[in-house]
């Protein structure tokens, strides 16, 4: 102890104990403050913080409804949903996108294509916190390695989603259309609530037309997520209402056959059941694999399809507008009879050419030297151009327009075939408006053999053939056969788009049909070889259409040009004559002659439909078990 100071220990103790008392008081008061704070947070503000805590962990997610399935008329699955594992990224939850992508590339094979597509989708407008897919169709190994690494990659998820799958690939692509990811324009159009969980939408074909039916109704689930947005468990679920399953008129066997018959060629086939208007087959060849488009096709693959000279993306059956050529003649024969410009027995001399004025231009017949004396039946059977030049000039354009329009030419008449084009059925009004020129008699001459301005799609030709087969009764072409489940189709369908064609003499229909029969079965019929040996009777008409579309400066190799400058081969027909079961239109681009190329294709379809398939009862039962597999 330093010198000069003295310690009063009793006093020191007294002071200390007083200070201890103060400290004790301070301590109790301050701990009281903490307890009061806890009371404030835990009791008074409990509800507020419970809400905050729930908002933290509970998220409402929308659940996409499974898309309705599509079956053919025998319940063979044409469009189904397949679970696909994909890697998705929620940009909002990722700190550094570039770093995350780099990390992912070490784990997965990610192509340049994937990256480009991802970056593009990143730029597009989308719902907040919506995941953007990076890679589809992970393998088992990739799924496993993602599971190992996912804790290092916040915002990156492996998702299983149902993705549309078309088991028949390119065979059905043009008939069904396809679904694809919802794009910017569609985002504006769709109901944001019902599509909240949906990533795919029908882009074309029936997928697009019956989108509402196939989509279903969105469901919801409350999920618990952790701080990094990872879903841990489902707390509550309101299941989505699945889309309706639909059955088409299409018969996949006929569709396959049609596809095979056109293999290695370019062309289209439309087959219709005359009684219902149901489309039995709708083939456009070459096709493309619609499955490529579902998850988004790569730029390069798309360019390849798009640039291909064969135009596989082009739906020839619905959008190919060809001059109908001589296939228009049966309809014109009906028109000529009904309008009175000719009679069944009237004979015409065919010297091989036709002149409007004695010294005028000679319109040639396809047959050098002509057919000699021909009546109407022979004119159809032998496809005499002179007879129809004469009849066309006599009728004039507007009479022809009046009748042909009733067969469905010049407009889009289908019930549910989206994307079909109307073709072109000229009239004098049309020519004045579109070409700013009067209708010349020469235009009528060309129109009489289906050339000139006249354009029709294979679907329209098949529709007109159906009307012929039905003897004037209109049937609207349609793909949908039935909606499965307990929903009846009654009241869902609009009334028929056109009236039946009533002729002054209804028996003229039988005359017209007989003329078409003569094409197939008479000694001089143009397609007699195609009908040879058939145990049933059929009606038909051949046609060829000149090609003018090819620009001369396009650089192709010479053989190619020669091949592609050949005429298109056309054929329409139905069978059997009594109670027709099938009406078809066939077009083979640059196929040469209708009788040599297109008619045998139709014959093969008839044979299959009338003779082969009905005897396949056993196989049919197997096909039907598909429904159990769902």
């Amino acid at each position: 102890m330093p010198w000069g100071e003295f310690k009063d220990t009793a006093a020191e103790r007294r002071i200390f104990q007083r200070r201890t008392l103060v400290a004790l008081l301070l301590l109790w008061v301050m701990m009281g403050v903490l307890i009061a704070r806890m009371y404030h947070l835990q009791i008074i503000q409990h509800d507020t913080y419970t809400t905050l805590s729930d908002k933290n962990r509970v998220q409402v997610q929308s659940v996409a409804p499974p898309r309705g399935l599509v079956y053919d008329r025998n319940d063979v699955l044409l469009a189904e949903n397949r679970p696909v594992f994909s890697v998705t990224i929620v940009p909002e939850r990722v700190g550094d996108i570039d770093q995350t992508l780099a990390d992912l590339q070490r784990i997965l094979a990610i192509s340049e294509e994937d990256l480009v597509r991802f970056q593009r989708r990143l730029q597009e407008p989308r719902r907040p916190f919506q995941e953007i897919p990076l890679r589809y169709d992970l393998t088992e190994i990739e799924i496993a390695s993602m599971a190992v690494h996912r804790h290092e990659l916040p915002g990156v998820e492996v998702n299983a989603e149902l993705v549309r799958y078309y088991p028949f690939g390119e065979i059905t692509s043009h008939a069904l259309g396809y679904v694809g990811r919802i794009n910017r324009d569609e985002l504006q159009r769709i109901d944001p609530v019902n599509y909240a969980g949906t990533n795919y939408i029908g882009k074309s074909g029936i997928e697009r037309f019956y989108e509402e039916l196939l989509h279903g109704k969105v469901g919801y689930q409350h999920v618990e997520t952790n701080a990094r947005g990872r879903t841990l468990r489902v707390l509550e679920r309101e299941s989505p209402v699945p889309g309706e399953d639909i059955r088409l008129h299409l018969d996949i066997r006929l569709q396959k056959l049609a596809f095979e018959l056109l293999a290695e060629r370019r062309g289209a086939i439309v087959a219709i059941e005359p009684k219902t208007g149901g489309v039995l087959a709708l083939a456009s060849v070459p096709g493309f694999d619609a499955n490529l488009f579902v998850t988004g096709i790569g730029v390069q693959a798309y360019q390849e399809l798009n640039r291909s000279l064969d135009k596989p993306l082009f739906n020839r059956a619905l959008r190919g507008q060809y001059p109908p050529g001589s296939t228009i003649k049966p309809m014109l024969a009906i028109a000529a009879l009904d309008s009175g410009v000719t009679t069944r027995d009237r004979l015409i001399w065919d010297p091989g050419y036709f002149q409007l004025k004695p010294s005028g231009r000679r319109y040639r017949d396809w047959k050098r030297g002509g057919h000699g004396w021909v009546d109407l039946t022979a004119a159809v059977a032998e496809s005499c151009d002179i007879y129809f030049y004469d009849a066309a000039v006599r009728m004039g354009v507007d009479t022809m327009h009046h009748y042909l329009a009733q067969f469905g030419f010049g407009e889009e008449t289908s019930l549910d075939i989206s994307g079909a084009l109307p073709g072109l059925l000229p009239s004098s009004d049309w020519k004045r408006a579109a070409r700013n020129a009067p209708w010349y008699p020469g235009d009528s001459v060309n129109m009489g053999i289906g050339q000139g301005f006249n354009l029709a799609t294979p679907l329209q030709l098949a529709t007109a053939t159906t009307v012929m087969a039905n003897r004037g009764q209109w049937q609207q072409p349609r793909l949908l056969n039935d909606v499965l489940g307990d929903h009846s189709l009654e009241g869902r369908l609009p009334p028929p788009s056109k009236d039946d064609i009533i002729l002054k003499n209804q028996d003229d229909w039988n005359f017209g049909v007989n003329a078409m029969k003569a094409v197939m079965h008479s000694a001089k019929g143009t397609a007699r070889r195609a009908a040879f040996g058939a145990p049933y009777e059929m009606a038909g008409k051949t046609g060829t259409a000149q090609v003018f579309s090819l620009a001369q400066d396009e650089e192709y190799d010479a053989d190619e040009i020669r091949e592609r400058l050949r005429d298109h081969a056309l054929f329409i027909g139905f069978a059997p004559i009594e109670d027709p079961k099938i009406a078809v239109a066939v077009i083979v681009e640059n196929g040469g002659s209708g009788s040599g190329t297109a008619a045998p294709v139709a014959r093969a379809l008839f044979d299959a439909w009338l003779m082969e398939f009905p005897n396949e009862g056993e196989a049919m039962v197997v096909g039907q078990t598909n429904e159990e597999d769902r």
């Binding site: 200390f16 109790w28 503000q45 805590s53």
Partner: protein, 380 residues
Amino acid sequence: MALRDFSRPLSHQSLSGPRSFWSALHIDPILLVLLVGLVAFGLFVLFSGGDGRIELVKAQGIRIGLAFFVMFVFAQLDPSVYRRWTPWLYGVGLIALLAVLLVGIGAKGAQRWLALPGLPRFQPSELMKIVVPMMVAWYLSRHMLPPRLSKVGVALILVLLPMGLIIKQPDLGTSLLVGSAGLFVVFFAGIRWRVISAFFALVSIAAPLMWFFGMRDYQKQRVLTLLDPESDPLGAGWNIMQSKTAIGSGGWSGKGWMQGTQSHLEFLPESHTDFIVAVLAEEFGFVGMLALMSVYLLILTRCLYIAANAQDSFSRLLAGALTMTFFVYVFVNVGMVSGLLPVVGVPLPLISYGGTSIVTLMAAFGVLMSIHTHRRMITA
């Protein structure tokens, strides 16, 4: 004197019967029971806060065992030994702090650890939490109490020197704890209220100056965040928002052990270290918090009782200061987690996961036990 009246019968009780046994061990049974109870409860909370990782609990259990051993050892030494060694310890402590600044290791931008060959890694700043109050107590108890102003000035220098070195690391939390430990000695020594008031006045003037010249940006940010956590909900405010949400959603009785959504779904940061009290509040509710606070209060009260009954000035001042440091620990941590104070890295004593702090804390309790059990049978 009121305090003596209630302390007498208690001390008589503890002097009779089992006294001989516990006295021989130099252990205060009451304090021991409270500490063991607290630590055991803490391990339960840690298991949940660490998301069920048993290895965390095992590691912490080993540390706790070590800490109790350190307490036992410290309790064996006579207070006079501490007094004799105090200046040396202080000197060594300062040198160690300097060494940390020069050759220390650390993480997250702060140098706090010293790895000397042959010794386990340790934080010298932790040691100073005991050594600084010891030093001030040693210095003041050599002179007449209450101390003169000049002596208080020297005491302040003794406190500020290590504080400054610790701030340099930078470790604001620890330096404040060290500083408060030293200042509590001055308080217990009986410094006049006038001086205390003047000191607080000075601090309130200095605070704005500190804001502009002394504090680092991240420290300023923490203060701003405290005032308005919603202003930065994804950054620093996140921690406070989430811990308040965890506490508040606990309600009366909590969500149940291992059932806290805030901690288990990783919304709560640092849920097994600094923010563990939020886990406790979420899972055991207000009742659990009340229980925790009660145990802390009982420990603190017992320690102040020990201080009040200590036999010499050095022991008294030291015991009082160590007790109050422990209190500051609790208050700063719970205040921070509940959004009353800015976020400073102070663990919840004896419960948060982490080694150094629990060992120093138990060492301090060892010193307190030593003070209580090494009594000379003469009245001062």
